[in-house]
């Protein structure tokens, strides 16, 4: 992605996503001011036709959003705007659940229906992110892109990859600053080894995510997304466990900001198929091809 877009996004999210915004969003208030800033900067059109950016840029932007726990339906808006004319806020519903359905102008389902006339029951995921239950009163079928479910899954992968980067940085900072027994805890070998494992998981997640982004317009897309959602979901669990252990009781408080990222990781790894779903998909493809084609399958995944 254009470095400029990534930098602009990072600056906007740094300036406008703070504790107040995150807590208000968790209480159910849509962060309207943040959404307006995002729209003014044109970030909501990244990846849309005529924007000069491509489908891969959607996920690059979502990595940045994940780093900042941006409490907007950005994945839904970006993916919807990549194949629909922009008309206000469009959210996407998967399995009847849509982020910020309560304020959306339109809802599109991953199955290919569009509606402006729908009932909403407010609900949230375990990170307190709006995940409203949607019932369409009337709808019409539209042409949605192939593999929309995979695209949504990759949006969660990108968000997780960003959040993983962030918690690695936070945890290194914390371990370097926090002193116990007269020295920073980062100096203890046991802590260093945990952080090395964490770094491995974060690096693996980034590579799995980037591989799937790189495949966004290729025949490998489905396999790459399956591998990425499975691998990054696994990394999210391992990483969240380690960062909380290193942060100690401090990280278990609501006051500390770590949970804005770890709870999201726990939520996102479940959304659009948890690890076992994608592992099974991948495993069936491998088994279907047979043992003697397995290596070729791995190589073909890119």
């Amino acid at each position: 992605m254009d470095r400029l877009i990534a930098d602009t996004a990072a600056r906007i999210f740094s300036d406008h996503v703070d504790r107040g915004v995150l807590d208000a969003a968790e209480r159910g208030e849509f962060p309207r001011a943040l959404w307006d800033v995002v729209r003014e900067a044109g970030l909501h059109l990244v990846g849309s036709p005529g924007s000069g950016t491509d489908g891969g840029d959607v996920y690059e932007l979502l990595k940045v959003a994940g780093r900042h726990a941006v409490p907007l339906p950005l994945a839904e808006a970006l993916i919807a705007n990549s194949f629909l004319d922009e008309a206000g806020l469009t959210t996407i519903a998967g399995e009847g659940v849509a982020p910020w359905g309560r304020v959306a102008d339109r809802v599109v389902t991953v199955e290919g229906e569009m509606s402006v006339d729908f009932d909403v029951a407010e609900d949230a995921n375990l990170a307190g992110e709006s995940r409203d239950r949607i019932r369409l009163r009337s709808a019409h079928r539209i042409d949605v892109p192939a593999q929309l479910y995979e695209r949504m899954a990759l949006s969660r992968v990108a968000l997780m990859a960003g959040a993983l980067d962030r918690i690695l940085a936070m945890t290194i900072d914390y371990a370097t600053a926090r002193e116990q027994f007269g020295r920073p805890i980062a100096k203890f070998q046991a802590v260093q080894h945990n952080l090395a494992v964490l770094a491995g998981e974060v690096a693996a997640a980034r590579c799995a995510c980037d591989g799937a982004i790189m495949a966004h317009a290729s025949a490998n897309f489905a396999v790459s997304v399956a591998a990425a959602k499975a691998r990054v979901g696994e990394a999210a669990g391992v990483a969240a466990e380690i960062v909380h252990q290193v942060h100690g009781a401090m990280g278990f408080t609501h006051e500390h900001s770590l949970h804005h990222f770890t709870r999201r990781l726990w939520a996102w790894r479940d959304e659009y198929g948890r690890e076992t779903h994608w592992q099974e998909q991948l495993g069936r493809r491998v088994a279907g091809g047979g043992a003697d084609s397995f290596w070729e399958f791995l190589v073909g995944a890119g």
Binding site: D165, L168, A169, I172, A175, T176, A186, K187, Q189, Q192, H193, L195, A196, V197, A199, G200, V202, A203, A204, R206, C207, A208, D210, G211, I213, M214, V223, S224, A226, A227, A228, A230, R231, E234, E275, T276, W278, Q279, E280, Q281, L282, G283, R284, V286, A287, G288, G290, A291, D292, F294, W295, F297, L298, V299, A301, G302
Partner: protein, 377 residues
């Protein structure tokens, strides 16, 4: 963001992918139809096969042509190595010379050394061992006590190296020795010497491993004379050189493919209609393999750019070795009974698994390298 975590997304270029079919054809032609694939790069030793690979230009691929190399990219080398490993081809004879001894000579050796050894390595005629560990220096490499004393036209070496893979059948060993007494700076005063394993003053004693194999050895040097032209690089620069050598040693696909045959045989055993649990297990392990391959290809890209991806290599090896161990354990629990090939692979992998997280740097050492990359040490 952190040193050592800069894995740029990297795609294998077309000319590298094009080699894949050539390697597969070659392997299919050269190995007998009933060939039982090795599950580990250490297992199959065949000087004849290595010579044939050399004949195809698949050893020393990235080296300059004037030293017998192919001036090809690290991506092309990557494809050849992973195809050979995936096929379980017998590659151990030339593996170390190709992977690290040759590159070490290229980086630090003299023109004369490069002329003398590299073309023979590239032809698959000349094999090297690694002389690093000692009976009392395992992971603490700076504590080596093998010493080389200056004499008029060279050095006299005394000491013992251990875990020297294939020293009983290789030609040379690049040996880390102390050329100055230990000082405040533990990393100073170390040097690397290229020593003829068949020369005088060198005794090789095999060490049987728990799997019954005799790949590694103890090598004893007793007043072994090494002429001046056996010094690799600068005397006293051994620590820097050995660190760069380990970067090559740790980055390749052999660090996550050691248990690959187990998974292949598991896929065969469960057939094309696996249970949900079996499919999920295959998929989980495949998701790791796909990711590890990408990381390793990214490291090949760093080598191609002339970088020294020491931390990235440690990270890939560490993840890869843990994966190799996990693979065997998870498949074991779901292995359907009565599949002799799968059982054979599982046994072989289990018996060799302790070495996965020891050879080429223990898990603990690798985590230390990564922690340093994170700025914690």
């Amino acid at each position: 963001m952190f040193a050592g975590l800069s894995f740029e997304p990297t795609r294998l270029p077309g000319e590298a992918e094009a080699l894949r079919a050539e390697v597969r054809d070659f392997v299919a032609r050269e190995l007998p139809p009933d060939y039982w694939p090795n599950s580990d790069f250490n297992e199959g030793h065949s000087p004849a096969f290595s010579r044939k690979l050399g004949g195809r230009g698949w050893i020393g691929m990235t080296w300059p042509k004037r030293f017998g190399g192919g001036e090809r990219t690290f991506f092309e080398r990557y494809v050849v190595t992973e195809e050979l490993l995936a096929a379980g081809a017998p590659v151990s004879a030339h593996w170390i010379a190709d992977r690290q001894s040759g590159p070490l000579l290229l980086n630090y050796g003299t023109e004369d050394q490069c002329r003398r050894y590299l073309p023979r390595i590239a032809r698959g005629e000349c094999f090297f061992s690694i002389g690093m560990s000692e009976p009392n220096s395992g992971s603490d490499l700076a504590s080596v006590r093998t010493r080389a004393e200056r004499v008029s036209d060279g050095w006299v070496v005394n000491g013992t190296k251990i875990w020297t893979t294939d020293a009983h059948r290789n030609h040379y060993i690049i040996t880390l020795v102390r050329t100055e007494p230990p000082s405040e700076n533990r990393h100073a005063g170390l040097s690397q010497l290229l020593i003829d394993l068949c020369g005088e003053g060198v005794a090789v004693r095999p060490i049987r491993n728990l799997a019954g194999g005799e790949d590694f050895n103890e090598v004893v040097f007793a007043d072994c004379f090494v002429p001046d032209d056996g010094v690799v690089g600068e005397p006293g620069n051994g620590w820097t050189q050995v660190t760069s050598e380990l970067g090559y040693e740790r980055s390749g696909p052999e660090r996550f493919l050691s248990a690959f045959r187990v998974l292949v045989e598991f896929v065969r055993a469960v057939g094309n209609d696996p249970s949900p649990g079996e499919a999920a297990l295959i998929g989980r392990l495949a998701s790791h393999l796909i990711t590890l391959r990408r990381m390793s290809i990214s490291v090949a890209g760093m080598l191609q750019e002339g970088g020294s991806p020491v931390v990235e290599s440690a990270l890939v090896k560490s993840l890869g070795n843990d994966f190799e161990k996990l693979l065997g354990e998870l498949v074991r629990l779901q292995a359907p009974p009565g599949h002799v090939h799968l059982e054979k692979c599982l046994r072989q992998t289990l018996l060799h698994s302790p070495s996965f997280t020891l050879r080429g740097g223990t898990r603990e050492i690798l985590r230390g390298v990564i922690a340093r990359g994170l700025g914690l040490r």
